[in-house]
């Protein structure tokens, strides 16, 4: 238990000490809210879909959790390159505990990040009508964070260095985000895109969070929860397995 705790704590300390990352974590979501929220706002309204900031905010919160947690998982590559990974790999503890500690640490950072972005959304005019559902929103944020930290860890366990990282960003993380319904409603989209969106786990994160915050849902909360729980469990198992197989 101590092992999980110390690895969790390490992730938190590292994030808190990285000033550039903290600044970046404010800037990006704010940019999305301004550019998309206000840029497309009037079009969205004219199309009869209501206030775009209201619709977009849960998507941007989910996006910041997605990016932060993937980065937290990918940090394994960083540790491998700078050698610290070896220190944890020769320690007399099952590697699965190391992986769990790291993942929970990264996920905690991502959830905190999500809450900061939630604050930013409120600051630019987002209003949530359903305060009693905040614990549900929190649940979706946690599930999303754990899921994608585990995915990041799994990828980092098989990628030898940062060269592969660009591929992961362009061919995995970006499509996961842009095709998830974070930016647009999933009704009335072409069939092919709908299939992709249905296969994208982030769609269920966005949908669940959107319901918890503004009461709008596409899949329904039970399905969102079921899909996320299943995919998260699978990611933890695969990530734990790959991490424990690392050779350096």
């Amino acid at each position: 238990m101590n092992v999980v705790y110390i690895l969790w704590l390490r992730q938190l300390k590292r994030s808190a000490r990285s000033r550039s990352r903290i600044i970046g974590s404010f800037a990006q979501p704010l940019l999305f809210l301004l550019a998309f929220g206000f840029g497309f706002g009037s079009m969205f309204q004219r199309a009869g879909q209501g206030d775009y900031i209201q619709f977009l905010a849960p998507g941007v919160i989910t996006m910041s959790i997605l990016f932060t947690s993937i980065f937290a998982g990918i940090e394994v590559i960083w540790d491998r390159q700078f050698g610290f990974l070896k220190e944890t790999l020769v320690a007399p503890v099952p590697r699965i505990l190391i992986m769990v500690g790291r993942t929970l640490g990264g996920a905690t950072v991502a959830v905190l990040q999500g809450m900061v972005v939630f604050g930013i959304c409120l600051a630019v005019g987002f209003r949530t009508p359903s305060l009693p559902l905040l614990p549900l929103a929190f649940t979706f944020m946690i599930l999303t964070a754990v899921l994608f930290t585990a995915v990041g860890t799994a990828l980092a366990s098989v990628l030898p260095d940062f060269q592969g990282f660009q591929l992961v960003m362009n061919f995995l993380v970006m499509p996961i985000f842009f095709l998830s319904g974070a930016l647009f409603p999933l009704n009335n989209i072409p069939q092919a895109m709908r299939i992709i969106a249905n296969l994208d786990p982030l769609s269920y994160s966005v949908d669940g969070l959107r319901f918890a915050l503004i009461g709008v849902t596409h899949f329904g909360v039970p399905l969102d929860l079921a899909v996320l729980c299943a995919v998260t469990a699978a990611a933890l198992i695969v990530g734990g397995y790959l991490f424990s197989r690392i050779q350096v």
Partner: protein
């Protein structure tokens, strides 16, 4: 204490370690010497559970690191060839992290961290992040850390690389003392032959993945008719310079440089 039998490690077609065998007795200081790329680090990685052998067997105090990973890992402390401290953490946090990983009880942990950091003259800097440390200070921290959980075996993979003579001297004195007083078994690699000659009870020389000579420093010199271990080493391994593949850190540095250039 440490035994390898018919040990082989292949990376694709390349045989890094080619059927080697050795036996290190309890309380012995054993030096594993060889030119760059000879297979020293690969062997240490197999002994310390970081790599799985392609074939053959190793044992640490009777435990097989492949099948009894966790138990085998408790037996040793290691100073890696490349740095392995966390730059973002302070010296004390790095030590504390290690102590918790090796389940050293809190009170003992605090005492030992203080004693070791004082011994390696890092106590005054314990609250500084390691990224502010010089190469020598990092090295001292890693050595202090490897001793924190009082291991029975210590692996030192080129521990004195980049250290000044004062620190080197102090390090070896400390290692010898530990070995004499607490009978810690030491397995070391180094490129400084005079260091090996000074501290090692027994030496194995590895080249192209094979052990080509084994014995006390005296035996190796007698066998090659030479005056110093360095001459004996050159007589056995020849004087061609070896190319080694870039390590992870070297690649990282290149990556960093390229990155800065792009910006």
């Amino acid at each position: 204490m440490i035994r390898a039998q018919e040990l082989v490690k292949k990376f694709g077609d390349f045989t890094a370690v080619d059927n080697i065998a050795f036996d290190v007795a309890k309380g012995e200081i054993f030096a594993f010497l060889g030119p760059n790329g000879a297979g020293k680090t690969t062997t240490i990685k197999m002994l310390t559970t970081l790599l799985r052998p392609t074939s053959g067997s190793v044992s640490l105090d009777g435990l097989d690191p492949v099948t009894h990973q966790t138990a085998a890992r408790k037996q040793f402390g290691i100073v890696f060839q490349d740095p392995s401290v966390d730059d973002e953490l302070t010296a004390y946090e790095n030590m504390d992290f290690h102590g918790i990983l090796y389940s050293v009880p809190r009170k003992l942990r605090q005492e030992r961290i203080e004693a070791l950091l004082k011994l390696f003259e890092l106590w005054d800097r314990r609250k500084d992040q390691v990224k502010q440390f010089s190469g020598g200070m990092r090295r001292r921290l890693e050595i202090a850390r490897s001793l924190l959980h009082t291991p029975k075996i210590i692996f030192l993979d080129e521990p004195t690389l980049g250290l000044d003579p004062q620190t080197r001297n102090q390090l070896w004195n400390h290692i010898k003392k530990l070995n004499e007083e607490e009978h810690v078994t030491v397995f070391l690699t180094t490129h400084y032959m005079e260091e090996a000659e000074r501290v090692a009870h027994r030496i194995a020389i590895i080249d192209h993945g094979k052990i080509i000579a084994q014995g006390t420093p005296g035996e190796l010199k007698a066998q090659t008719n030479t005056e110093t271990l360095e001459q004996a080493f050159l007589a056995l391994t020849g004087s061609t310079i070896r190319e080694e593949e870039a390590s992870g850190l070297d690649k990282m540095r290149t990556f960093g440089k390229a990155f800065r250039r792009v910006k």
